[in-house]
Amino acid sequence: MNDQEILVRLKQGDENTLDLLYKQNYRMMIKLIVKNNGSEEEAKDIYQESLIVLWQKIRDPNFILTSKISTYLYSICLNLWRKELERKKRFSYEIKEEIDIIDMDRDERIKIINKCIQQLGETCRDVLTYYYFDRLSMVEIAEKMGFANSDTSKTKKYKCKKELDLLVKSLYKESDFLD
């Protein structure tokens, strides 16, 4: 597969092509970070993050790739790794700021939502995450999920979202997050 084909498939949300890309560039990216004082574990993490950045970026209609995919990935990796190095540096000098109460509340709420996401059926989870994270269109969701058409995707998305909302809100009530 050449770059162009890979891009087209990634755009369609083809996860296998993501796997392929991961394998193709693994060695190069790991080396890059290891050479820049990263451990192999860190390198792997950064590289995976970079691929996910690309995965999301590619869905942007304004996204135009002017270089080879590997070159682009290389630069994302490098950027993420620089940020990570800065973060590590800061961390060693400063004692972590106190987390304020509001944040604690939010963490608690996120935990609750995660519990609800776990409770959803797999189909619902897939439809919703494809919609919000992968930003797939209803037609693309139908293709990926094997639905009859985009109307099915729409209905499913609506119903699943409703289900999740209800789950979240009922648990919020229990925890007094709602007045």
Binding site: M1, N2, E5, D14, E15, N16, L18, D19, L20, Y22, K23, Q24, N25, Y26, R27, M28, I30, K31, V34, E40, K44, Q48, E49, L51, I52, W55, K68, S70, T71, Y74, R106, R109, I110, I113, N114, I117, E122, T123, R125, D126, L128, T129, Y130, Y131, Y132, F133, D134, R135, K144, M145, G146, K161, L164, D165, V168, K169, Y172
Partner: protein, 302 residues
Amino acid sequence: MNISEETIDSFLRGDLSGADLEKFNSALAADPKLQQEVSIQRDIVESLKQYRHQQLKNRLNSIEMKPVAVGTFSSAYVKIAASIGVVALLVGGYLFFNKNNAASSISADNTENTAINSEIGNNVTAGAETSTPTEIAATTKPSATENVSNVDATTSSKKSTTSDSKKSSSINEKGSKKSASYSEPSDTEMNEDYSVDKVNDDFSIPTINDGAASISAPQIKVSIVKEKNLGYRFFNNQLFLHGNFSNSTYELYELNNKPSKQLFLYFESNYYELIQGKTKVTSLTPITDKTTLLQLTQLREH
């Protein structure tokens, strides 16, 4: 002003712009109830995104990679055995890992060997719920034609002897060594391209006909649709398998029975026939026909 759920949704997905966005923002500023709702919805959308992010990460993480090296060929995944005019194809999450190598090893075999029945195991770990096996494209290499006469010699007798299998498995070992060296990339730096362009998405296998040299295997691409019930459909030369294939291996076999080829799925100790041309989702029922079952079991055991 009344803001619909749909508008909140578009706002959070970042789909609102211009006047719509302005309208939304001013409504939001004026309405505490709406603020609360948007805040809840924002957390939900954020959590969904995080969930998917983690899912993709787990997926990549489940791909086994050798420490700072390209994975070497593991013969456990590719078993090549001689058999009666049959081409079997297996698909797996790990296939992609070895796809390159597998393809190259098989085409290497292709030049020396004849009937090839390739089998690639799929070892998706139960823990990694995201590692779904999916796609493989099967095409026939033109080079396969050259071997057809050869093929007949070993296969027309319809005896699949053990020596045949032994021969081919030893060839397989040779093949795997070959491909291991093939996939060894030179040390790469920024501008070096480790034969990325050479990566062929097609998994080439020779199709062997009983006698006739006409080879025209259609491209079969497999996609998995996660679902509770087993089913399948063919669409646009793609095979969509419906079901939960995350935890067990599934295998695809092609039987070249005259007059036509039949495609079979093996999954959780059952065989299913896949009829090409079914464009609507068709549910799968295990095959009960004894002759077919015998043929398939024999094939699978090789």
